[in-house]
């Protein structure tokens, strides 16, 4: 079975590489379509046409797009992500610090939201139709419909301004000790958990209810199993595949989609970096960030598929 999963992962990694090349092409083409000339923007309104032309040549912007694409792709493969147009630093340097921050925030949010969503989703399914189930449903629908900037702003208002318990801004680099870590991460993590958990809870509940309605779960009940055993031993294992996929989809949001949270809490993550890069036409930085988000998404989906296959003996064959 292990060799079978290993073979599957190898195959999927191959497909991932193909997808990445296609995405790289799409990202490159999209950045090419961005209006405005980089050299012109860098040099400002008063630049002479000669200076602009000189800079274009120096940045190889006068070469055909396909050549620059090949050059960039070659760089990606060898680990050279290029140099930032805006401040002439290595893109790798710019991103690495920010990526660590983003991953930290993502990891803390995952550790907090996944067990919570699983618990709420499974228990809501277990007591379907009860007051508790309705409470969870109302809660998740509310959370889905309230935009995250609202949650974030309210959290800042209440916890930072009125109560003064937590700092309004999160500087992840200046953390000393666990207490401070909790204080710094509390608000962004709560806000992000609100966003990603709602979907995960709903999908978990739906997937478990689907399996609860199958004859084999009814059979478990007729064998004398308690409700708890019925759900935990028979319904949940068979619902793992769809749940893992829903979670991968929700969690992929934590890297690229958290711009609002990063902005409000002034948290130095990659999403903010990318938006800043768009403002300055910093093409190498935009492209690298996009590739990074794509890669994280593909990795999450791969993990979800491996979980789905490992939990289903029919697919393990």
């Amino acid at each position: 079975m292990n060799s079978m999963i290993a073979g599957l992962i190898i195959r999927r990694v191959g497909i991932m590489l193909v997808s990445l090349v296609i995405v790289a092409f799409a990202v490159f083409a999209a950045t090419e379509l961005l209006p405005g000339d980089v050299a012109q923007i860098l040099l400002g309104q008063s630049a002479t046409p000669e200076a602009v032309a000189g800079l274009r040549k120096a940045m190889h912007l006068d070469q055909p797009a396909i050549l620059r694409f090949g050059h960039w792709l070659g760089g990606l493969v060898t680990g050279d992500f290029g140099r930032s147009y805006a401040n002439n630093r290595d893109v790798a340097d710019l991103i690495s610090g920010r990526l660590v921050n983003s991953l930290k925030l993502g990891a803390v949010t995952t550790l907090f939201s996944v067990p919570l969503s699983l618990f709420l989703g499974v228990t809501a399914a277990m007591f379907r139709g009860s007051f508790y189930d309705r409470l969870v449903s109302v809660f998740t629908v509310t959370v889905i419909s309230v935009p995250e900037f609202m949650v974030a702003t309210l959290a800042v208002l209440i916890f930072a301004v009125y109560l003064g318990w937590l700092p309004a801004l999160s500087f992840a680099n200046e953390v000393h000790g666990l207490g401070e870590l909790l204080r710094v991460y509390a608000m962004p993590v709560i806000t992000l958990s609100f966003v990603v958990s709602a979907q995960m809870i709903r999908m978990t509940r739906a997937a478990v209810i689907d399996t609860i309605n199958t004859p084999y779960v009814e059979m478990a009940l007729l064998k004398g199993a308690t409700r708890r055993r019925m759900v935990m031993r028979h319904a949940l294992p068979n619902a793992l595949g769809p749940i893992a996929n829903a979670m991968a989809l929700s969690l992929s949001y934590l890297l690229g989609g958290v711009i609002i949270v990063e902005t409000i809490f002034n948290y130095p993550g990659v999403a903010k970096l990318m938006v800043d890069a768009v403002a300055t036409r910093d093409l190498p930085l935009i492209q690298t960030c996009a590739m990074l988000f794509c890669l994280s998404y593909l990795l999450l989906i791969l993990i979800a598929d491996v979980v789905a296959i490992a939990s289903n003996p029919r697919l393990r064959q």
Binding site: N213, T214, P215, L222, G224, P237
Partner: protein, 553 residues
């Protein structure tokens, strides 16, 4: 002998989708003595499964016991707390489900699920439970009893799973077994093995049982007494022999009558040979999967099949699941292009796929599927379902179309008022009639019927067969009638083709089927159809080697 089960004035109510509360069991009294097997028999909706499940103190979601008592060994399952019921389930009363394939958790090994009862109730150490399970596998004559438990449910056959489900029920040494249509989903040849296993286990342990079924012949083999149910009420209770030979109640008589279909007067073979062939199939092969180097698909579902259907005749195609009979219909209708061979319709060779056939060719050959539920669009009223082919093939519109719809409904003996209803508002038999009318709307020459009575109750199915017969005489239709049920084929067909593993093994006139079958497989298949005779199973002698070969597929 005391009664181990006593059901007193039991009533169960169900909530419909629209929120109305309907009584589905209306005050039923049933008792089962120790060591006795009582059968509950009736059509779908008669409440037989609902009653059986109350023995475990369980009702399906939406249902509720409104009054009455269900006493098992003197204790009332209705009045118990949920914890007490859990204690009884699996230990005192055990359940064998209709479809074992669906009742086994796909993510666990069979052994884990078979011994689960002993784990839930902490009856014995796991090691003992495993040993006991292996003994049960042996008693139920399962192959490789030592190792079969390590497999997953999808790795064993349907007949084996059904016996494994019985082992799962027996592990807790229950006093009462509830069998819920345990052989309905099986092929007839497999059904015999499973029935024999059940019968010997019940006899060995002197257990009491409730056996739910719609099949009188199956029940006659295993039950001591039969309770006939209809619409949630008991119609008749009597010893099996009495029900089979001297039924009292009108409904019981109807059930028995439906079991003996009117045999069709055979067509004159010489006249048939003279008539033009409407359909000729030559060396037809087809399958699924990628095409190999020999231009044949990797999995061949149909191998070199040849037959001829004369105009105005009915040809039956019989075989068990996996014999390729449905694939045959798909290929002839052009839904699945053949890999080799030809299909000739009214003297002209047809294109391999639907897209290559003319509208006229499509019109003349219609197909009716087994499940009207999935074949009819649930969001369209009957008049739209029937009107669509009228407009498509004949360009009929407006008032003329309405008149045609009325005529079609009349043809399938349905009142014209039904045309405003949605399929979900019709009964199973009515839906199948609409399904048939949809095919008739095209004014076809040939209708391919794919198991069209298999999902229907015996009495309803008999009425549909009668209708088909009348339509054939009125309209001069030809039928290709696919079925796994030999008695249906007997009632409607002139000729029968027996299929086995994608091949045609024999072709014969229907009236020679019982006496004149020559191929060993045809003989096995035909002799496996249960007869309405309480001693049929005990007397049945079959070629064991062939039986093993067929059952071990």
């Amino acid at each position: 002998m005391g009664n181990i089960v006593e059901i007193r004035d039991l009533a169960v109510a169900a909530k419909t989708d629209s929120g109305r509360v309907v009584d589905i069991i209306k005050g039923v009294d049933i008792e089962v003595a120790e060591g006795e097997v009582v059968a509950l028999i009736g059509e779908s909706g008669s409440g037989k499964t609902t009653i059986a499940l109350t023995l475990l103190g369980y009702t399906r979601p939406g249902c509720r016991i409104t009054r009455g008592k269900v006493l098992v060994a003197g204790r009332d399952m209705v009045a118990m707390s949920e914890a007490e019921r859990q204690h009884v389930r699996g230990q005192q009363v055990a359940y064998v489900p209709q479809s074992a394939a669906a009742a086994f958790d796909p993510s666990q090994t069979i052994m884990e699920q078979v011994v689960e009862v002993s784990r839930i109730h902490q009856l014995m150490p796991p090691e003992d439970a495993r040993r006991k399970a292996v003994d049960l596998f042996r008693a139920l004559s399962l192959p490789n009893p030592e190792t079969i438990g390590a497999r997953y449910p999808h790795q064993v056959s349907g007949g084996q799973l059904q016996r494994l489900a019985a082992a799962m029920a027996l592990i807790g040494d229950p006093e009462v077994m509830v069998f819920d249509e345990p052989t309905t989903a099986l092929d007839v040849t497999t059904q015999i093995e499973v029935l024999r296993a059940f019968k010997s286990v019940i006899a060995d342990r002197n257990m009491a049982g409730i056996y739910v079924s719609h099949d009188l012949a199956v029940v006659a083999q295993i039950a001591d007494r039969i309770v006939v149910l209809k619409g949630g009420e008991v119609q008749e209770v009597a010893e099996t022999e009495k029900i089979v030979h001297t039924p009292q109640h009108a409904y019981t008589k109807e059930l028995i009558a439906a079991f003996h279909p009117v045999e069709r007067a055979p067509a004159d073979p010489r006249a048939m040979a003279q008539r033009n062939a409407i359909l000729e199939v030559k060396n037809l092969s087809a399958g699924y999967g990628p095409t190999g180097s020999d231009s044949q698909p990797s999995f061949l579902a149909l191998k070199d099949v040849t037959f001829r259907l004369a105009a105005g005749e009915s040809l039956g195609i019989i075989g068990e699941s996996g014999s390729g009979k449905s694939t045959l219909a798909r290929v002839i209708s052009g839904l699945l292009p053949q890999s080799s061979g030809s299909v000739t319709f009214e003297g002209r060779e047809l294109a391999k796929s639907v897209s290559g056939r003319s509208r006229e060719e499509l019109r003349k050959m219609q197909i009716v599927f087994q499940l009207a539920d999935t074949a009819l669009n649930p969001n369209r009223p009957v008049r739209a379902i029937l009107g669509r082919p009228l407009t498509f093939y004949h360009g009929v519109r407006g008032r003329q179309r309405e008149a045609e719809v009325d005529r079609l409904l009349d043809m399938v003996r349905l009142p014209a008022a039904l045309k405003h209803r949605l399929p979900s508002e019709l009964s199973g038999g009515q839906k199948q009639r609409v399904n048939l009318a949809r095919a008739l709307a095209a004014k076809p020459e040939l209708i391919l019927c794919d198991e069209i009575t298999s999902a229907l109750d015996t009495v309803v199915a008999a009425a549909i067969l009668k209708l088909l017969d009348e339509l054939q005489r009125e309209l001069g239709l030809s039928y290709m009638f696919i079925s796994h049920d030999l008695s249906t084929v007997e009632a409607i067909c002139d000729e029968v083709v027996v299929m086995y593993q994608g091949e045609k093994v024999e072709e014969m006139p229907t009236n020679r089927m019982k006496s004149g079958a020559e191929h060993p497989y045809s003989r096995l298949l035909i002799s496996s159809v249960p007869q309405l005779d309480t001693n049929w199973l005990d007397r049945l002698e079959q070629d064991n080697e062939l039986m093993q070969a067929v059952a071990g597929r």
